[in-house]
Symmetry: C3
Subunit: 159 residues, 3 copies
């Protein structure tokens, strides 16, 4: 049927792809939020790395004392880098996974667990929770990406 | 019409997707340029982090003195990391946005503003410009990605 | 022919796209491996950055002495960041390249050289090999991405 074909030519009409788009947008927005959290800590803790940023908060010698590291700023930055290290593989492998023809329910399970795990990971990092409060959600998200990579390689394998 | 369908099956023939491909390639090439800028500063300032790199510029104790940080190197590295933090969401959300059926003119507006903002951001970081010379282009790029994410979630929403 | 059209509507049935999916999954899995290597060095060298991580290896003052940097940990982290800087452009530009209609043999050549170069780069970084043992595979991977970007811009150009 023409409708069927037209449907399959529009990626965004495919339900698995729509789910991928939704969770990828959410998880990338969550990653972007780390920039605001870092900026918030930099401003409230008055801890900057660029002299031109510190200059907004004082002049001359007074500005120099704001060129320092702060534990909360560094923690937010580590959370941000950890997001990059884990969300980039999810976005890349997840796209290929969404195109490899998984069941919608299986795909949703992967996307939901990953997204939940990464949101929990951020709270665990920022609070911080004692271990394995942060290690566990990290491992869960990592495993979801591995599971999607397995499906991609099984479906697409062409070396 | 067959032509119409054939067109829609080839992503690269879709004008919005072509615009996405063009600006994504440009902005990723700009990010890759940061590696060369960092390498340039490392070599001209003789400031390395790996002993095997410093060894090319001196032997023994002489090489050790090149294992140091340099303000220009660190500045280029921060610009590179800021690119990763902002260009990765643009590439991921931008792809979904391009597939969500926006008007070509609206899509071009998003892609052009983001690309211009990030190129300006790099100049502002490296010169450096006084604030808000760097903060403003950062916020503009960030807002463009938020706007695309809104369109993606409105079109694709399937939780 | 219907078969032909159906084929082109399913990205994952396209041979160039299958090759892209295979190599992208491999190279992202390789990048994810860096997390495990960093964790391995942190645990065996007892060198942590988060107090809540060090707390698993000692109490009070005893835990504090594990809050330190270690050369092997830092080396693995630098390798991980270098992967992000280089594999992100490959994944993004590679997707557009795969959709720009290259010959399968040409595409495979690009994907294989990039993947081989990045695996070699990781060994060169971790061992470490003397230069240009690490610089050369870095430049090879970088050049492959530039070559793909050229093809993308030539095919898709719409500014």
């Amino acid at each position: 049927r023409r409708g069927e074909m037209a449907k399959s030519t529009q990626l965004i009409d495919n339900e698995v792809f729509r789910a991928y788009a939704t969770y990828t947008a959410i998880v990338l927005l969550k990653m972007m939020l780390m920039s605001l959290i870092t900026a918030y800590y930099r401003i409230t803790r008055k801890a900057f790395v660029n002299p031109e940023d510190a200059a907004s908060f004082g002049k001359g010698e007074n500005a120099k004392k704001f060129l320092r590291t702060d534990p909360d700023v560094e923690r937010a930055r580590r959370g941000h880098l950890n997001d990059l290290e884990n969300i980039v593989p999810f976005v890349g492998i997840g796209l290929l996974y969404a195109l490899s023809g998984p069941e919608l329910s299986t795909a949703l399970l992967h996307f939901r667990i990953f997204t939940g795990a990464r949101i929990f990971h951020t709270f665990a990092y920022l609070l911080p929770l004692p271990q394995p409060g942060r290690g566990l959600p990290w491992a869960v998200g990592y495993s979801v990406t591995l599971s999607m990579a397995y499906k991609v390689l099984k479906t697409a394998w062409l070396l």
